[in-house]
Homo-oligomer: 144 residues x 2
DNA sequence: TTAATAAAGGATAAAATTGTCCTTTATTAA
DNA sequence: TTAATAAAGGACAATTTTATCCTTTATTAA
């Protein structure tokens, strides 16, 4: 479904949101341990997210990755996925046709549209603060 | 969503079904032209499908790939996807956790379950004969 | 102002996926 | 029985994705 980059990125962002909600910055080391992802590879992913302003970062001692409380309310999973994997999951043809739409559809076009819309809606409607709140109510996991 | 192998494979199988419904065998050359896929690569995919008995093949002049009318009624897209990509799309965790289920879920587990079930149902409920019939009623495309 | 800390960034490396080429095997028809 | 045809199969090549390592830059606190 998603690339490894995107899987690690989503897990990392959720962890960062959780920590930020507690008033803590998260270091690369703490993140890759918390979500069980390769540190150096995770660093690249976090760089990308920071460059696109989905998360904040600061260098030096007491530095790390974090999110403003405001950002947590507006940042959606869809934004994270779009930065890391592009919008191909929502927009691309299920059979891989370059041009596939209502006017010129593949045989599965109309069957896929509904599913892809649902996926997109789910990701668009889920903000990081929602997940942080969920995780305070229930035991959810970010590793293994 | 699907691998290239699976995209090509699905397109090829649909074309083969279409041709078989007309009483024709489809050669590798005709298939890769009809669905715009790399011939040698497509050959490997068709080999896999034939070895798993999703399609039939015969060598020599007048040979090619084909499906029995019976098979067309029972073969589903899900079977094709499972042979080429495995069941990871339906079963794997959206965040890439090795163990993610109702008892030990990731934060997105319950949100993903519905979507993955819908995708699986769609593929399971779509037989090749259905698509062949659809394509006789409406102009659907298998290339570009 | 220096030492320590931590992210940013560049250069590679490993692995997986995608893709090609060539030989072998089976089948058909002349 | 031979020549032509077409899939099967093996070996290899290119590309993309995943992953690592090392240097640079910024920040903090002593």
């Amino acid at each position: 479904m998603f690339s490894k980059s995107c899987e690690y990125g989503l897990r990392a962002v959720i962890f960062i949101a959780q920590q930020s909600h507690l008033g803590h910055k998260a270091s690369l080391t703490s993140i890759s341990q918390a979500v069980d992802s390769p540190p150096a590879f995770t660093a690249k992913i976090l760089q990308q997210l920071a460059k696109n302003n989905l998360i904040d970062s600061s260098k030096g001692p007491k530095g790390g990755f974090f999110m403003a409380p405001e950002a947590m309310k507006t940042l959606t999973l869809e934004a994270v996925v779009t930065v890391l994997d592009g919008d191909s999951i929502y927009t691309n043809c299920g059979l891989g046709l370059k041009q596939c739409n209502d006017k010129k559809p593949c045989p599965l076009h109309f069957k896929f549209v509904a599913i892809k819309e649902e996926l997109k809606a789910m990701l668009q409607n889920t903000t990081l603060i929602m997940l942080v709140n969920d995780m305070n109510l229930y035991r959810f996991h970010l590793k293994r």
